[in-house]
Amino acid sequence: MELDILTVKSIIILLVFGISLGIATYSTWAERRLAAYLQDRQGPNRAGPLGLLQPIADAVKLFTKEEFIPASANKWLFIFGPSLAMLTALMSSAVIPFGSTLEIGDKFIPVQGIEVNIGVLYSFGIVSLGVYGIMIGGWASNNKFSLLGAVRAASQNISYELAMGLAIVAVLMMSGSLDLRKIVEDQHGGNWNVFYQPLGFIIFLTCAFAECNRTPFDLPESENELVGGYHTEYSSMKLGLFLFSEYVNMFVASAIVSVLYFGGYNYPGMDLVADHVPHNLATAIGIAVMFAKTFFFIFFFMWIRWTIPRFRYDQLMSLGWKSLIPLAIANIIVTGCVILLFN
């Protein structure tokens, strides 16, 4: 029986892994179609129906292009950088609870890669490691533009991590647990954290944009100042890994936003559904709801990218340090006072 749980867990982990990659792949397609729609053009529509085979064509192109390593680059770190970026991007989805429990035999198995009671800290830790791939890649290229991109990525990441952590603290104060599953279950019955923590949600979302290096905070690769930023010297699939890891990060960030603020797999009327359909079907509906919320936030990331122009670097820093961090601290104090007064 012990082995059975292990097998189911391995299947869940493999599924999460495959789904992260699959969603990231089709995010590239969705991003280009959406950009085209917002700019009143067609977008990729030649490869397959609606251009659905475009990501595969892109992958084939990237794999078959020339692998180029600059002569003065630090060869091993040059290869290590994009690998690390992809590795950290894929690791963080392990603790996300995608659904309630599955009933297999007489056991209830949670739809989650690993259940740890420090889930929030785990994903936060992995996110904070994400910048190493960019830093190492940018430094190892031995190019001034790459180095500037890497240095920008490092300072941006550290600055916004603080505000992000402080925004999460307010959520943790409400749930009293670091376990992502418990945070989701606390939001059962429409008690979504976003209603109690609107400011915290906005701060968290802003920081998530900065941590994923998405526009308006994509300064590490801003092409009108730094050629290509940290990936100037990269070609072929190594460049592909850098770009692709951004989409995986975007998926993970969207999933974490849904879990922390939008009730994860909770949806209105779920108790009614749970009474009338088999347990596994109810769980499946919950998983679908969770993915719908995640897709909405992925769409939101893209929507912002094609709407708001890039910040200037000093604006980015003063927004992080002078607005978001004080606001997040004020949010913690207000949350603490409310909890003290009303509980």
Partner: protein, 174 residues
Amino acid sequence: MAEKLFYFLTFLALASGLMVVVSRNPVHSVLYLILTFFSLSGHYILLNAQFLAAVNIIVYAGAIMVLFLFVIMFLNMRTHNEPMAPIWAQLAAVVSAGLVLMVLVAATKASSPALEAVADTDSFDSQIGLVQTLGQTLFSQYLIPFELTSILFLVAIVGAVYLGRREPGERNSF
């Protein structure tokens, strides 16, 4: 299984710690130091102290080492322009490192009865490293040291801001 993991992690920690000192390239040193922190976090997980493991990664590997790397990249130190330390400085470093080792060994030996009590598998509380236990201990038994530490951090932050602030009329040197 746990024992094998312990030996693997210990080997990794010692080997990467050694490479921090031996590497000629400062960026490599920092990367090896990060690997050392990871193997230490592995040890914390073996001790069932998940919170400490996660915080070790977030604070040291995720923030402090990023700043280290940031500074080293900005200074752009290379192997060829790194001056060799004079022989007396090397000797002094070896002697002081040896003294630190002696103090550590002596401290471990002196506290061995207490360590044995902790290592006793029957009375060992496996929940001791979890967040709840740690939080309750910090905010009841060790409340004053904890608050004093936070004041220390506040002083350090104010000091850093004071040192880093731009004098009136001074231009940004970047």
